[in-house]
Symmetry: C2
Subunit: 470 residues, 2 copies
């Protein structure tokens, strides 16, 4: 009988972002034949264009800065933002392994980070490392180099159309279209690739899937922009569901509060808001000149507040605050951030009523000088200073669709869980944004990279430990 | 070749609650052979033990009471409670057809309702009919009688194990276990039943499925009680997902704020709170003696408030308020509601601090006498009176899992939508709580029965209009 398979590998990995490449590296270290399939014409997916922010609890930089942190504190921040919809076991694995995963990227991959931590919204303390180039590509490129060293091919333009299960319900391989031209689903040539040990799904989220996301959350119509790359669509997730994976929390889709209204996608403005505007500046409703929330709240709280009462939001920061964003020059060049010599000019250009804005800034400054928590409960890091030194910077904001908290269910071993039996589907693993449960109602900024790397590595190690089928 | 089928009907309906029986009646009127399959040993499912509350916009009783209402107002109430996660097209169908569906139960089935409307939480106006026996059985029994008249068999102890699709992807029939003994999934005899025209899924929600619900919302552990009957489990939903239905919003699961701590399940206390305690009384935190929310808020807001700050909640009402609940005598007999001659006695028995409780009642009474909205924004119906006339009644409350807003996706024609193509699966319909999208984040009380009847009838009519396969 002729085999239905065109090719055969020990381990087949779908997706070449943080999760897929982490899995590939761990699997490739012990296993002779591993392949990574990527539907787009370039590797790295959404990970490449992310901000390269990495949350780690009890890290070396925290020790240096005498910041007291622990996995327990990180976990409690995750559960608070997640409204306890998190799968606590999975969330705990991320918190407890975050620093180990960070050190792995440094020691094993040679990733370079800036020497200063950032304090992102919803985190109790500063625990976020920044890649040296302020981008996820600072991790993806060393990962790709490592895959090259290990002899792991990344086959581009290769699109998963279907998982193939054995009669006994084990994951056996995948049907793909090679030479696929995104987004033409009829393009390319059908092929079947067998996995002797296991298949790992790491296809990311579906923020750019305009049909599927609006089914899950009818508010997310096609008019709403996304920070994600065009390939962030739902086919991998759907293929897994068709193979009896369990859908969880698909309607929990996060918008990023920090994106610029004056550029497309994630752009350069998002990092400006995250690193400077929100922690060191204030968020203002243009119509009133007033603050309306703790700028360091988690993303869901921020977006809910920005979208209520038809607010038009801008973030304002002064010269000292602006220094914290390494994307400042790019933002100014692209017109995403505007520069003003006075608050009066800033108010006029943004059509903010001047008197209330001045009062807002004065009240805020006096709170900082007194070292007091203000009415909105914004945490006051030690290096926070009054907004007083010109030039002043402003960025116009609009929430953009950013992250899918939901996905398919996995267990602590990164095994995909069957929808009927609630037991693992044999030889089937998944990691990263295609899975659900770690973050609950709201993912905290900089928690995605540790999640992807930690569960990607678990998947890779466990897949390689499977006994190969004949 | 021997047929794989043991039996054949024009239309096969799974589930014998409001949705399934409504579908059966409409289908049976035009179609020679319809069968209803029910896994439990008795028909009616959760519908039988529901409160029999039916929301209808612009109804005859509203006209008589000069209550100004419209489908638009009902729709806007649904979207507000649903946090606009509702599928608006489906929600609109419920609002626009609610009165027609109510009249259908009266004219076609002979259902008897009380002559007075109730005003349930989250509804802008009183628009809720009550069945004469304060129970969903007041509708289920006439539906069963109608099925008998139409010659439609209700086959009990018949458990759906799998949907069977044709090679072209059409719904063709079901595999079941006959003589099934809930919850033993190995019991009974396997059989295959073919549907010449269509299959209709109406298996309800999964509030009692302790494994599946905690996957979707990890807070809903097995310690938390449910108001639902034991058969409210997820197998029908899961079978549909395995047949390529689209899961939507499965993590949106509602707790009912009105259930008694002193009895199991929905009991008799729930209706007391809904009809008397919340609209005509006050909700108090036992530890403070103070109100903490508008008692007529929607269920999600109420439960969120009850669960925050470890509140222990009781509802209090006086003699006049208590009259609005027809279950009062049963509640007193079972000890679910307690009766006191004075507020002092009530406070002592419930360990509420007396002085703050008295003050709370005085403030509340004075607001009612002035006809003013209070700080919590409780709507003040014209017949609302101060809490002043002994005896006083109290009920101890605890949130219980009540309703699954999520389920499988259907379109306006009650067709099940395919997860990959986003197009209807041919000859496959669904209605009621097994579907998702109508209610978004929170279903308003008394909106389930119109939803089930409206989409059940649509499914039945459309299924009967299918051309039979040879």
């Amino acid at each position: 009988m002729k085999s239905i398979w065109d090719e055969e590998y020990d381990i087949v990995i779908i997706g070449s972002g943080f999760a897929g490449l982490s899995a590939a590296i761990e699997a490739g270290k012990v296993c002779p034949s591993v392949i990574v399939l990527e539907k787009m014409p370039a590797p790295g997916g959404n990970s490449s264009i992310s901000g390269g922010l990495f949350a780690a609890a009890a890290s070396p930089l925290q020790a240096k800065d005498r910041i007291i942190d622990s996995p327990e504190l990180m976990l409690s921040d995750m559960l608070a933002a997640g409204l306890e919809l998190n799968n606590k076991e999975l969330a705990r694995i991320v918190a407890e392994n975050s620093t180990e995963a960070l050190l792995w990227t440094i020691k094993e991959l040679g990733v370079k980070y800036k020497p200063r931590l950032s304090h992102l919204g919803g985190h109790s303390v500063a625990r976020t490392y920044n890649t040296a180039n302020t981008s996820g590509s600072g991790i993806i490129k060393p990962m790709l180099a490592k895959c090259r060293d290990l002899g792991i091919p990344i086959r581009l333009k290769t699109y998963l159309t279907q998982f193939i299960l054995s009669k006994s319900g084990e994951m056996e391989g995948v049907a793909v279209r090679e030479d696929y031209l995104f987004p033409n689903r009829k393009s390319g040539v059908l092929k079947r690739i067998r996995a002797k040990r296991a298949v790992i799904l790491a296809t990311g989220g579906f923020s750019q899937d305009k049909e599927f996301r609006v089914i899950q959350d009818p508010k997310l119509t096609e008019e709403i922009e996304s920070t994600n790359h065009q390939g962030a669509t739902a086919e991998g997730l759907i293929a897994a569901l068709k193979a009896s994976a369990t859908p969880i929390q698909l309607s929990l889709i996060q918008l990023g509060p920090w994106a610029s209204r004056d550029e497309e996608g994630f752009g350069v403005g998002s990092m400006f808001s995250m690193l400077a505007g929100f922690p060191y500046g204030i968020l203002i409703d243009v119509r009133t000149g007033k603050r309306f929330i703790n700028e360091q709240a988690d993303r869901k709280l921020l977006v809910d507040a920005m979208l209520s009462s038809d607010r038009e939001s801008i973030a304002i920061v002064d010269q000292k605050g602006g220094q914290h964003a390494s994307t400042l020059d790019q933002c100014l060049k692209r017109g995403v951030v505007k520069k003003f010599e006075s608050i009066k000019e800033l108010a006029a250009a943004n059509t903010v009523p001047l008197a209330p804005l001045k009062e807002t800034i004065e009240v805020y400054n006096s709170l900082i000088e007194k070292g007091r928590n203000d009415a909105f409960g914004k945490p006051l890091p030690i290096d926070l200073q009054p907004i007083r030194v010109p030039p002043y910077y402003s960025i116009r904001l609009t929430p953009k669709i950013h992250h899918c908290m939901g996905g398919i269910q996995i267990n602590a071993e990164a095994q995909v869980v069957h929808i009927e039996t609630h037991r693992p589907i044999s030889r089937f693993y998944a990691a990263g944004e295609v899975t659900g449960g770690v973050h609950g109602a709201s993912r905290l900024g900089s928690n995605a990279i540790p999640e992807c790397i930690i569960f990607g590595r678990i998947a890779g190690i466990n897949a390689a430990a499977q006994k190969p089928r004949p």
